[in-house]
Subunit: 582 residues, 2 copies
């Protein structure tokens, strides 16, 4: 690195703007924060991710915006809270017109490319209304939440409205995994000890090895596709969203990962009998979901979690492959790497399966950021305890790519000040997570109208407060009750009433800012004294007479007259002798 | 009307769906509710509007969604609160993709057509991002907030970003009002007693008659354009937005209206010295606006208000012309007529000019609805005291045109139950009005950031409560203080604290519903049990084994199998003997 005595810092900074050229934005699906060794798992070692954390920064308190794939991802991709982007559940299309990461980065010359899953549902009705062909370049981007799809694969059962025959199916067929649905028959089916094929859809068979040869399973396949892209990418800067389907269900993994972990490696379940005594009505209804009941049965966790761990171990191994490739390709010095997840997984904790509520196993996700910028040297290998959110990634990427911030559009904030060890004094004091349970059985059981099936959580690092429509709130004190067993939502202790009151008001203030004035940037307002400019443009509001205008005119900056001499001549006429304009 | 002894009501109702075919949606600009005789004005007689009220329903408590043209109109045109549509001030384009009245009515075969003003600013950046040509049919509609423009005319100084040479200018030239800018030189300029031309921009000259011959002034011109449209409209049902520029400034009117009213006809000013003692900081800053200072000077109201009244009297006369034409054209039995305004005008009340805050003269507007449907016979000539809002019109029109309600998109509710005398028990208990004062001098004086320049009002018919960012709230008790002189925002009286607390919470509950899940209707959620359907589609979440699925399958409705036999065969296989699918 070139240095001189006086200009060292400046030189480094100017080099830097060139150095970080690409972004690799890696997302797992349904990966809990505490299932990586760098986040404290005792039996599941993830040395490649741990090494990434050692080279970058590990965020200990990273929260998603919704405990379910679709809305969480749309918040990542737009930098906006769910109340702003509106795609509040998996089957809710992100409305045509919502700006995504890709829309923000494209004008900066950066390609945003997808390999893997987004859970995006295209807003075909909106496109039709706007006269946009879904197969046009713009239409495809709207349908792929702003990404150019290098390979889209949501990894879900192909009969259910997703791509009925994804490229991965063809790949499997070319590699000896044949049939109508090789995704199911090979990648997600195991063989029992008696030679009988058993579907990975059933949790009982999670312990069986998947039939697919490991190198052809989904995670290595997607990793190779990402490397294919990097090889082909050329000189144009890119933001690659490498979005793994795993460790999301079906929970089944090929050997050697299938045998790697056993029941003895499964962490103790985090649940308490107290949680089932007089629970909050919505929580109670969710505990009755099939998946919650199943995960609460003896033996289920022991069958499922070893496979879940194997899937994560496989991801970590693939991270090793990927990072070695990038090192060899000379990309590590020019590429920011972000590793995160769209949400966690209850796995039986709190008598729940899947996600859908706001306990830590679900809304706290791993977030590791490696920034090759030398300014980030200050924090390499450190752990950040500040509250960060999924919506912070889009503004971070915009920052890295040299774009001006767009606080009129994005709810999040760039993480770069934290990465550079320059924590802003006004960093956020609460995170917010939203959930629309209109689509869940719990809503039907409770007889709640879809419009009322909203819940919002606000968490300040200690107190976690949840507001519902039509039900009492929930409150947890993570200082005295880190496992979130004691719901203080109805407690009359003054301390709890105060905490509820304070967070209630904070959530109100948050709710008053559903960023929708997206067509005018704050900076445009700040840079223009609108009212004088209106007068300078010839619209005269509140002037009594000619003298009044003549006096005001002394401070006018005749901006318009440079482009429209009629304005100046009109103002001249109005402040001089009156006469009929010709 | 055909009648029989048993089926009378049914017959009338079935006829009705054919009877109300068109909608005439008339809007004035800056017309206070209390400047019509049917709303209590003592000197300004508006017999034509009074007659419309006698044939329809007069809403005594109709409120706009924002005290300024652009956002208020966008709420009328979308049926959505400002926090939902985001066009929070005049220069803020309604974002491409927002659904308007026109978008909702078009699929029902109804043309939405504009004659006059909308204050719409086209979202050119959004259209460019979406690849939409602003000159295409879709592009023009996006640029005209969903209307097909028969004649767009915002009636504002032509140098300031609006159409530099509207059709009205050509019309004036063809009728002897010549020059570069006949709008200014004739329609908005008067002649002093000494023969000197004087600009209507100056309030001092409001008392002069405008130079334009009355029949060529803006209001009769636009009325004729509306009649031109009706003559040409043919059989297709229409929703015509006839949107007058007046009585908006420049406050100047031709004879005979210029001489019709004098200072003796001006209602007493509504203001109190108490209001200037220790006012709320934002209110204080707004009292310093030029227009507020001018209107607080002696003599200004007496110069301006007679012209304002003349402009309104002219509108009423034109209503007479229009309704007679419609009667003769046989349109009165098939056309709903709505008369309203986009907001009021302080006219010096409360030491203010223009609008920009939430006092009654500004946010309460006239609303008269004539519905030819016989079911509305029950309420003809009555006055409705229920709280209604600008956002209620779009749902009303959708209702009239036979469309299903869209509560996932529109914040408002159809007024038809009220018109039919069937008040819903759950009718709203509060109205909300929002203002973004980022563009006002008050923000600059206060040093508030644009993002914080929000204020929201909630009013329950008695208590009016205003929340700001960074300032104490305001509170008025209209029962004890109908003129809103006493700001109780800091009062410690228990009654006032309770009122603030209650409305604070009501506003919070309101703020939690910024309708953005616009791509999935509530009815679609209610009609589908999503979770069973997911299983029925072959995605099996939380099933332990084959027996578990076999049991659940007994209650499956195999919806998907009718279109995709693979799903049924897969479920058959999974619940029967396991085997590898081929």
């Amino acid at each position: 690195m070139a240095r001189n005595e006086n200009g060292q810092t400046l030189l480094r900074e100017s080099q830097l703007s060139k150095r970080v050229k690409n972004i690799l934005f890696i997302m797992c699906d349904q990966l809990r924060a505490d299932y990586l060794s760098c986040y404290g798992h005792k039996r599941l070692m993830t040395p490649n991710l741990d090494r990434l954390a050692a080279r970058g920064m590990l965020f200990e308190r990273a929260y998603v915006q919704s405990p379910v794939c679709g809305p969480s991802r749309m918040s990542y991709y737009t930098g906006r809270y769910v109340q702003a982007h509106g795609a509040s559940w998996n089957f809710v299309p992100l409305k045509a017109g919502e700006m995504t990461m890709g829309d923000h980065l494209r004008p900066l010359g950066v390609r945003s490319v997808l390999v893997g899953k987004t859970h995006m549902r295209a807003d075909l009705a909106g496109m039709s209304r706007l006269g946009i062909d879904p197969d046009s370049t713009v239409g495809v981007r709207i349908g792929e939440c702003g990404f150019d799809p290098y390979e889209r694969d949501d990894g879900i059962h192909p009969y259910s409205g997703h791509d009925p025959d994804p490229a991965y199916s063809d790949y499997l067929r070319r590699n000896g995994c044949d049939g109508d649905n090789p995704w199911e028959a090979w990648a997600n089916t195991g063989t029992d000890s008696d030679g009988q094929a058993r579907s990975g859809w059933f949790l009982k068979y999670s312990r069986l090895p998947a039939r697919v040869p490991e190198q052809h399973s989904e995670t290595p396949y997607m990793t190779r596709r990402a490397m294919d892209f990097m090889r082909e990418a050329g000189d144009q800067p890119w933001c690659l969203h490498l979005s793994y389907i795993k460790p999301h269900w079906p929970y089944i993994v090929p050997e050697p990962y299938a045998s790697m972990y056993g029941p003895q490696d499964v962490p103790p379940v985090v649940r308490s009998e107290a949680e089932r005594r007089d629970p909050h009505p919505v929580y109670a209804a969710m505990m009755k979901h099939r998946v919650s009941r199943t995960f609460s049965q003896d033996g289920v966790r022991e069958a499922v979690i070893p496979a879940y761990m194997g899937l994560i171990k496989q991801i970590d191994d693939q991270m090793g492959v990927l990072f070695s490739f990038m090192e060899e390709a000379g990309l590590m010095d020019s590429t920011m790497i972000v590793f995160t997840s769209d949400h966690g997984d209850y796995l039986g904790d709190h008598w729940m399966g899947e996600k859908d509520l706001f306990h830590e196993p679900v809304i706290r996700v791993p977030l590791i950021v490696y920034d090759p910028d030398p300014r980030a040297d200050a924090t390499r290998g450190t752990r950040c305890a500040d509250l960060v959110e999924a919506v912070d990634l889009a503004p971070t990427f915009l920052d890295v790519c040299g774009g001006a911030p767009v606080p009129h559009v994005m709810d999040g904030r760039s993480l770069r000040p934290l990465l550079f060890g320059q924590r802003p004094a006004d960093w956020r004091r609460e995170v917010v997570c939203e959930y629309d349970y209109a689509f869940q059985d719990a809503r039907i059981e409770l007889g709640t109208a879809p419009r009322d099936a909203w819940m919002r959580m606000i968490f300040d690092g200690r107190w976690k407060y949840v507001v519902f429509e039509g039900y009492r709130p929930m409150l947890f004190d993570l200082a005295s009750d880190p496992d979130e067993f004691v719901d203080l939502g109805a407690s009359q202790a003054p301390e709890h009433e105060q905490a509820r009151q304070r967070l209630h008001e904070a959530l109100f203030r948050w709710a008053l800012r559903p960023r929708q004035r997206v067509t005018v940037p704050d900076a445009a307002i700040e840079s223009v004294e609108v009212q004088p400019r209106i007068s300078e443009g010839g619209i005269l509001i509140g002037y009594w007479d000619e003298d009044d205008l003549a006096r005001a005119r002394q401070s006018f900056k005749p901006r318009f007259s440079s482009t429209n001499p009629l304005v100046r001549s009109t103002l001249d006429r109005l402040t001089g002798k009156q006469g009929v304009p010709q």
